[in-house]
Structures are given as structure tokens and as C-alpha cells.
């Protein structure tokens, strides 16, 4: 039973087939939905699609680096809600007199980065697995933001920050361009910096990386801080899109981000995949969600579909030869 997915993959040429599979899935999905409902390829819907992909794309960029190392960051929702809370409370809002404008955005991104940095410190210094460290950070972030918001929804009144979602540049909301910028930044980091290569090396084989002179602890902490940076940016985007921040602003985001990364073809074992894969993964998840709405399928069932997608993608992509023990 365990060998069947591997065998199927081998039939189609193993690795090379696998690396193209997500793209094929995306294309097939688009064609099928367009046939079922031609409204799908209307310009208005494509803009809507890009808009709803903005936050997940930015989030998934950060998560990709963590998963590339073979770790996981479950604090996505906590960090995002902290960042959204900071930007809303420091910019013009309906709860206090602050009006720091774009400094609020800077502070929010810094807050996100700090959360990631702490996750990295906890994981490397206390030497506990990342899923536990970030599970703790998830609820620390959530508790902090709900506390600061006193459990209520606070409106964001700063017009220039709201313009991230409302203002359009070349037909697309600014938030989409920000997300695209995040993608370019992540691609540059992964393919053209030492940090990117070291992250891949750690994911490939941490012992070998260490023996080759990679400062594993520093790279790990930097990677978690980097992920926090991306989560922070997406927190700002989410707050701008919703025009407010509340206790459940992060709900379901972790799940969508993990689905996107995994479906894109980045292996949970680390060392394989990257931000381009994740871009395709995010598009698959967003197109599917959009398509389900167009086809009149209950939106409630979306999480079920995403869950099944995670299972299928992981089952197909794991390099099982390397895994003797799976915990």
C-alpha cells in the first residue's frame, strides 16, 4: 500500500513528473472551471481571484522557507493577528487617538518579524521541535492580539492604508502588487542569497550542512524571523482588506497556507521545492475556492477539500526512501 503512490510517480518519470504536476493540476483546474462556468475567465473575476490570493501568497512565501528547512510554523494565525492588531491600533482607528500613518505599518511588520524571531530563538535555544514551539507562539500571539483589542473588532480609519485594498494600479488593487513584490523578494532570497542556499542545505540534510560550515542556529533563527516578516506584511494586507481587526482575523489562514505550500510541491521533509512551487500552490487553492463558489458548492465544504488536498499532495510528494520513522 505504501509503495503505490511511489510506483505511480515512478511510472510518470518520478521527480520530473512530480515537479510539473502542480502546474498541470492548476491548468486542468482552470480549464474545467472555465468550461463549467464561463464567468470564471471574465476580467472581473480574475481581478477578484488575484485579490483573494494576495494575503495567502504573502503568508505562504514565509511558510515556504520554514518548510524548506523541514520545520513547520504553526504560528501563522497568531503572528498575522498580532500584526493586524498593531497596524489597526497605531493607525487612525475608532478605539484610541493614535494616528501614526505608515509608521503603524512599519511597526506591524516589525512586530511580525519579532514574533518569528522569538519562535526561532525558542526552537534553537530551548531545543524543542518547531511544531511545539510555534504551537505555543500561535496562542501567545492570538491571546496578545485579542487582549489588546479587548475582544472586539476595531475599525481601521487611515485612508492611505485602506488604499492598499481600495486603490487600483494598472487594474489591480495595490495589495496584489505588494503580494507580487513579496513573491519577488522571496524568489531573490531563495535563489540569489547565501541565506536561501543555506536554508535549502539545512532542509536537505542538516548534519551535512553543519559539517560544511553552515551556522545552522543562525540560519534557522533568521529563517523564522524572515517568515515572521512575511506574516507581518500579510497581517497589514488583511487588516487593509477587511478595514478592521478582530479576534478571528487569522482563522483558517494557517490551513490555507500549509495547503498552498504542500500542494505546490514543496516537500515537508525539507530541501525540495521553493517559492515558485508555492506560487502555483496558492493559485491552485485560490482557483479552487473561487471555482467552488462559481459552481455553487457550499463554501463550508472548502476546508474539507483543502484537507483532502493536503493528504493527497503529501502522500504523492514525500520522498519515502528517506523516511524510516514517521512520527
Amino acid at each position: 500500500m505504501t509503495l503505490i503512490p511511489g510506483r505511480i510517480a515512478a511510472v510518470f518519470g518520478g521527480r520530473r513528473w512530480r515537479s510539473l504536476a502542480p502546474l498541470a493540476v492548476l491548468i486542468v483546474l482552470c480549464v474545467l472551471i472555465a468550461i463549467a462556468n464561463p464567468n470564471f475567465i471574465e476580467l472581473r473575476n480574475l481581478v477578484r481571484l488575484a485579490n483573494s490570493a494576495a494575503v495567502p501568497l504573502t503568508l505562504a512565501m514565509g511558510l515556504t522557507f520554514i518548510i524548506l528547512m523541514g520545520s513547520i510554523d504553526l504560528s501563522v494565525e497568531g503572528t498575522l493577528s498580532v500584526s493586524a492588531m498593531v497596524v489597526v491600533l497605531l493607525a487612525a482607528n475608532d478605539a484610541n487617538g493614535n494616528d501614526y500613518g505608515w509608521w503603524a505599518v512599519v511597526a506591524a511588520v516589525v512586530a511580525g518579524t519579532a514574533m518569528g524571531f522569538v519562535s526561532g530563538l525558542i526552537q534553537t535555544m530551548l531545543r524543542i521541535p518547531s511544531f511545539m514551539a510555534t504551537l505555543g507562539m500561535w496562542f501567545i500571539g492570538l491571546g496578545l492580539s485579542v487582549y489588546m483589542l479587548s475582544g472586539s473588532a476595531i475599525r481601521l480609519n487611515d485612508a492611505s492604508i485602506r488604499d492598499l485594498a481600495l486603490h487600483r494600479f494598472l487594474g489591480l488593487p495595490v495589495a496584489v502588487w505588494v503580494a507580487f513584490g513579496a513573491f519577488l523578494l522571496a524568489a531573490i532570497i531563495q535563489y540569489h542569497t547565501k541565506l536561501g542556499r543555506h536554508i535549502l542545505a539545512i532542509g536537505g540534510d542538516e548534519d551535512v550542512a553543519k559539517l560544511s560550515g553552515v551556522n545552522v542556529t543562525r540560519v534557522r533563527i533568521t529563517a523564522f524571523a524572515l517568515a515572521g516578516f512575511f506574516f507581518g506584511v500579510s497581517g497589514v494586507l488583511a487588516a487593509a482588506q477587511l478595514g478592521q481587526s478582530h479576534a478571528v482575523i487569522g482563522d483558517g489562514r494557517l490551513f490555507a497556507a500549509v495547503t498552498a505550500v504542500v500542494v505546490g510541491g514543496t516537500a515537508l521533509t525539507g530541501g525540495e521545492g521553493g517559492v515558485v512551487n508555492t506560487l502555483i500552490g496558492v493559485l491552485i487553492v485560490t482557483v479552487l475556492a473561487n471555482g467552488m463558489i462559481l459552481l455553487g458548492i457550499s463554501p463550508y465544504i472548502q476546508q474539507t477539500v483543502q484537507g483532502l488536498m493536503i493528504i493527497a499532495a503529501v502522500a504523492l510528494s514525500l520522498d519515502r526512501v528517506r523516511l524510516r520513522i514517521v512520527k
Binding site: G143, Q306, G307, V326
Partner: protein, 321 residues
């Protein structure tokens, strides 16, 4: 056996088992001093009753953690069970209980099969099944909370009753606790589970059916999560797809704080009982001291990280990912 290993035995496992108990007693003493008269029969039985759901949930996840895995789907399974119960009580009456509980068994088994047969790490497998289950619960309930009406409440009344002064929920959790304790200590499954958690390659080489043991553990975790969901629904007279969402962290924290190591093989249900009581008392204590209720998650998150850092057996993981 040389001197260091004897010292390790006393400094390591033995004291680790005792620390949570000492902590629990200390917490009780602090509360008794701060508010004399706390330790009366009535408040203690209320404390137990309020801990019951958390304990049942934590007992289930103890099985997964003892194997060195984790179950992140328990809150979703518990919520689904509450929805099923609330939905089916009017038509099925008491028969709604087994249906709801069996749904948990089914999804727990599914988690186990995905984890074992597809060789997916348990935190991802259960994150995924948790999503599947949450989606189903939202779909079945149309995203709304379902109130258990007057007619249905006749069938849930027994859960909220008391027998000889002891609340039925406490009796239920006691029965589950004892059964789980006995299952871990005296059955083949229990011994094999601990062996797998202690050293999977060795357990495998010794001829233990590792896959089956893991699937049973996850099935047990799912089933107990559903029981917790049913009890919660009966207590609140409502079922909702987000009913148990706030319970994932306290449940895992209860297991770890009780002294079960996330690396597996060390710990048990008795420790989880102590851990669940500690979490409950800390929660009451926070309200008592005047800590804002919204900060509760923050405290539990920090407690979880601290407890993991203390109980983890680092010699068992070559590379900490």
C-alpha cells in the same frame, strides 16, 4: 549500572513524574491560603466537573503523544460530535450518542491510516483531517450553532445530573480515565504503544505491529475527542462547529504539563489527570487573581513551551526540526 545512570534515574524520570504532582498540591495550598474554604466538597466537585471535558480530550491525545506523535484534530472531531448530537437528538433520541461517538472513532481511524499508511507526519495528517472534519461540521450545521431543544434535553439531562452527590460528568471521566489507564498498563496494545514511543526501530525489530498500534492509538484519540464533544454539547445544550476550538491548546498543555514527553514512551493517563487539574486550577486562579480572560491563551502558550522544554528527551531526536 554505574553511578551516573543511577543519578539520572533519580534526577530524570522519577522526579519528572513527581514535579507535576508537587505543583498541583502547591497550587491547591496557595488557593486554600488565599481563599480559605476553597477545599470543600462542593467546590472540589465543581472543579472536577469543570475539568471533565478537558481531561477526556487530554486522555485521548495522551495516546497519540505517548507514541511520539500528536493529534491536532481533536477540537475539530469534538465539535463535529457536538453538531451530530445536537442534529440527531430530536430524531434518534439516545441513539444519537453512539452515532456521534462513532464518528469520532471513524475520523480518528482515518487520521491513523493517513499517518501510517501514507507515511505522513502526524501533525500534518491530523491538521489535514482536522480541516476535513471542520469543513464537514460547518456543512452539516450550515455554519450555525444548533441549540438542543426541550425535547432533546430530556435525553441529555442524565449527563448533567449527579449520582450520590457526584456529578455524572465526573463519573464518566473517571471511568474513561481508569479504562485508559488499565489499557495502557495491562493490555498488549498499551505495552506495545509505550514500546513504540520509547523506540520505534527497537519495537519494530521486536516484532510489534507498529502500524496497527499507531492506528489504534489515533482511533482512541478520535473516539475520546468525540466523547468530550458529546459531554460538552450536553452541558452547554448546544452543538456548534467551533464549540471545542478553544480546547486544543489546553488539552495538549494538560498532557505535557502532566509530565508526558512529546518524544514519546514516557508518561501516561495518571499524569494527564494531574496535568488537566493543574490547567483547570491555573485557569480558576487567573480569574481569581484578576488576570484578563483574553490573556488566558497567552499564558497557556507560554506554559506549553516551558513544559515541552522541560519534559522533552533530547537524546531521542538527532536533529531538532
Amino acid at each position: 549500572m554505574n553511578e551516573t545512570s543511577i543519578r539520572q534515574m533519580f534526577e530524570g524520570k522519577w522526579t519528572q513524574g513527581a514535579i507535576p504532582l508537587v505543583l498541583l498540591v502547591a497550587l491547591l495550598l496557595i488557593i486554600e491560603i488565599a481563599a480559605p474554604g476553597f477545599l470543600t466538597g462542593e467546590t472540589v466537585s465543581l472543579l472536577f466537573a469543570n475539568t471533565a471535558v478537558l481531561f477526556i480530550l487530554a486522555t485521548g491525545v495522551t495516546f497519540a503523544i505517548l507514541l511520539g506523535g500528536i493529534d491536532l484534530s481533536i477540537q475539530a472531531v469534538a465539535s463535529l460530535a457536538s453538531v451530530i448530537l445536537a442534529q440527531l437528538l430530536p430524531s434518534l433520541g439516545l441513539a444519537a450518542f453512539p452515532v456521534a461517538i462513532l464518528s469520532g472513532l471513524a475520523f480518528g481511524t482515518l487520521s491513523g491510516i493517513v499517518h501510517v499508511k501514507l507515511r505522513v507526519p502526524s501533525f500534518v495528517a491530523t491538521l489535514a483531517t482536522g480541516g476535513v472534519v471542520t469543513g464537514l461540521a460547518l456543512w452539516v450545521s450550515n455554519g450555525r450553532a444548533i441549540t438542543i431543544e426541550e425535547g432533546g434535553r430530556e435525553n441529555t439531562a442524565w449527563i448533567n445530573a449527579a449520582v450520590a452527590g457526584v456529578p455524572v460528568v465526573v463519573l464518566i471521566s473517571a471511568v474513561i480515565g481508569i479504562a485508559a489507564f488499565l489499557a495502557l498498563r495491562y493490555t498488549r496494545f498499551g505495552r506495545q504503544a509505550i514500546a513504540v514511543g520509547a523506540g520505534e526501530p527497537a519495537a519494530w525489530a521486536a516484532g510489534i505491529n507498529v502500524d496497527r498500534t499507531k492506528i489504534i492509538a489515533f482511533a482512541a484519540s478520535g473516539m475520546l475527542a468525540a466523547v468530550a464533544g458529546v459531554v460538552l454539547a450536553a452541558r452547554l445544550s448546544s452543538g456548534s462547529p467551533v464549540l471545542a476550538n478553544q480546547l486544543l491548546l489546553p488539552a495538549i498543555a494538560a498532557v505535557i504539563v502532566g509530565g508526558t514527553a512529546i518524544t514519546g514512551g514516557l508518561g501516561g493517563v495518571a499524569r494527564t489527570a494531574v496535568g488537566a487539574l493543574i490547567i483547570s486550577i491555573v485557569r480558576i486562579g487567573m480569574t481569581f487573581v484578576g488576570v484578563n480572560i483574553f490573556l488566558e491563551n497567552m499564558v497557556f502558550g507560554a506554559v506549553l513551551i516551558a513544559a515541552v522544554a522541560i519534559t522533552i528527551d533530547r537524546s531521542k531526536i538527532a536533529v531538532i526540526k
